[in-house]
């Protein structure tokens, strides 16, 4: 079975959960509560590390509640890599759907050409955007990077829609991002998204990563062409860009005969 199938199931389940969780809360079932900024499952608190880091930076204090809500997401990051982005983030799912829509409308392929220097160029954008964002945030003293976090906006809008029956202006921001997704290939996730960039700091080489297991392969570069984050999965699986989506593992033609490109723990 393809990894993509599991991934689609997880993404669809998340998309349903966005509406289901507020609905359960409306009926006073408080088992799971929260949005993708921060969530409680039972009593286990989970919070977006960037959001918590911002409030630490702005307030200059660290309290046990912040630390407690950071444990689970960071442990997940270290163990499984940046699976949040590719397996659960609703915005990533929408972006993938926009790519499909493009194919349906028979527009020309728009993925930029891969070169060896491309990943480093991308990294510059990402880290610079996060750094500037954090600087502006600490001057203003309000966690403003939360206001441009796409998954957070989507889920909190769903909450407002279910609980109060209206949506607010922030949805326009996401709509603009999604619309531009038609013309620039995965531009938000690849080049700007501060949440994803911050998550990728907690990457551990011992966790789940894509690696070339066999010594030799047919060198067809299918994995490079399929990679949505524009990196070379054969060599750069450990880098912060890889979000463990598994598209390259699915696409690799050598995998059928012999394990070549696989998810590994080391």
């Amino acid at each position: 079975m393809k990894i993509k199938t599991f991934r689609r199931i997880a993404q669809t389940a998340t998309l349903i959960a966005i509406f289901l969780i507020p609905l359960l809360n409306v009926f006073e079932l408080y088992f799971i509560k929260g949005t993708f900024y921060s969530m409680d499952i039972g009593d286990a608190a989970i919070a977006d590390p960037l959001a918590v880091f911002q409030s630490m930076l702005a307030s200059g204090t660290i309290n046990p509640y912040m630390i407690g809500s950071l444990i689970i997401p960071i442990a997940l990051m270290l163990l499984l890599g940046r699976v949040w982005c590719s397996w659960f983030c609703p915005y990533y799912f929408i972006a993938e759907m926009m790519e499909k829509l493009r194919k349906l409308m028979r527009m020309k392929p728009f993925k930029p050409q891969y070169t060896d220097s491309y990943p480093h160029k991308q990294a510059k954008y990402r880290y610079l955007f996060l750094l500037v964002g954090l600087l502006v945030m600490s001057v203003i003293g309000v966690p403003i990077l939360n206001l441009i976090s796409a998954p957070g906006i989507i889920s909190s809008q769903a909450l407002v829609l279910v609980k109060f029956g209206y949506v607010t202006f922030e949805l326009v921001f996401v709509a603009v991002l999604v619309f531009l997704e038609l013309f620039y290939y995965r531009w938000w996730c690849r080049l700007f998204c501060p949440t994803g960039t911050f998550l990728s700091f907690f990457r551990m080489k011992r966790g789940m990563t894509v690696r070339k297991v066999a010594d030799e392969c047919s060198n067809c570069l299918t994995c490079v062409r399929t990679c949505p984050m524009m990196i070379n999965p054969m060599t750069m699986g450990e880098s912060g860009h890889c979000n463990n989506c598994g598209d390259c593992v699915d696409a690799c033609p050598d995998n059928r005969k012999k394990d070549t490109l696989k998810f590994t723990f080391r």
Binding site: A47, S55, V142, L147, G152, S156, T168
Partner: protein
């Protein structure tokens, strides 16, 4: 040199324009740390909004500047019923989770407008003796609905509602206040200065801030004294009639 614009600029430099944005009847949820800290800590995860069983906590909208997504309670619309659920779910401690007793909450302070409050009106009418006409109404709703009756709100002279410093600011009184067209109770959020309670220095400051304008041609010193001394009320008679017998001359009185 000081004018409106320099004052605006001063305010802009001395206080963060994105924080401390107080409005009457708009409170933070119970257990919130003070406003400046709250804006730093709140990550807009909306968990407190989700968990509120009365739908009292609302999400701030775009017109609230950078406060979009932060939780607010609008007590004149839907008050907080102090169920103490929201502070337990806060992931960053913006709402203090150690708060468990409803009476320790300080969200704000209720202030009664004595000109429109029905009980105060009734008392005034009673003193003047017009309540016989039947227009005056006795209400005491705020006293009855308060969750901490007789400690947060007391009835002075068994009729006048007075709010003490034990007021939690939950705003149930403001929600239920029946006076029309405007409600007689306003909740001031915690941290917002209350003009009526500013004390001597606050009042003095306000008096000095008002422009003193004297009418043209006003007299001063010696001239004023002379003018005053010229006033002679010996032969003047009032232009109204007394409703009792008066004696015009001294003799008449002595003859009695």
């Amino acid at each position: 040199m000081r004018n409106k614009f320099t004052e605006m600029f001063e305010n802009l430099l001395n206080s963060n324009p994105f924080k401390n944005y107080f409005k009457k009847n708009r409170l933070r949820p119970p257990g919130a740390v003070d406003e400046e800290m709250f804006m730093e800590l709140c990550i807009r995860c909306a968990r407190c909004i989700e968990v509120c069983p009365y739908d009292s906590i609302r999400r701030a909208d775009l017109y609230e500047k950078l406060q979009i997504g932060t939780p607010y309670v609008f007590p004149d619309d839907k008050a907080c019923y102090l169920c103490m659920r929201c502070m337990k779910v806060c992931p960053t401690g913006a709402l203090n989770p150690r708060l468990t007793e409803g009476q320790d909450v300080r969200m704000g302070l209720a202030v009664i407008n004595q000109d429109t409050c029905l009980n105060f009106k009734y008392y005034k009418d009673e003193m003047e003796g017009v309540s016989m006409s039947g227009t005056a109404q006795l209400c005491s709703t705020c006293y009855n609905v308060c969750p901490y009756t007789d400690s947060a709100i007391v009835l002075e002279k068994f009729i006048l509602p007075v709010i003490t410093d034990k007021c939690t600011g939950c705003g149930i009184c403001a929600e239920k206040c029946p006076s029309t067209p405007k409600k007689s109770i306003v909740i001031y959020p915690e941290g917002m200065p209350i003009e009526e309670k500013a004390g001597f220095y606050g009042r003095k400051h306000r008096v000095q801030a008002q422009d003193e304008k004297k009418p043209e041609g006003a007299l001063h010193g010696e001239e004023l004294l002379n003018q005053k001394q010229k006033i002679d009320g010996s032969d003047a008679k009032p232009d109204f009639e007394y409703n009792m017998e008066l004696y015009e001359t001294k003799d008449e009185w002595q003859n009695q």
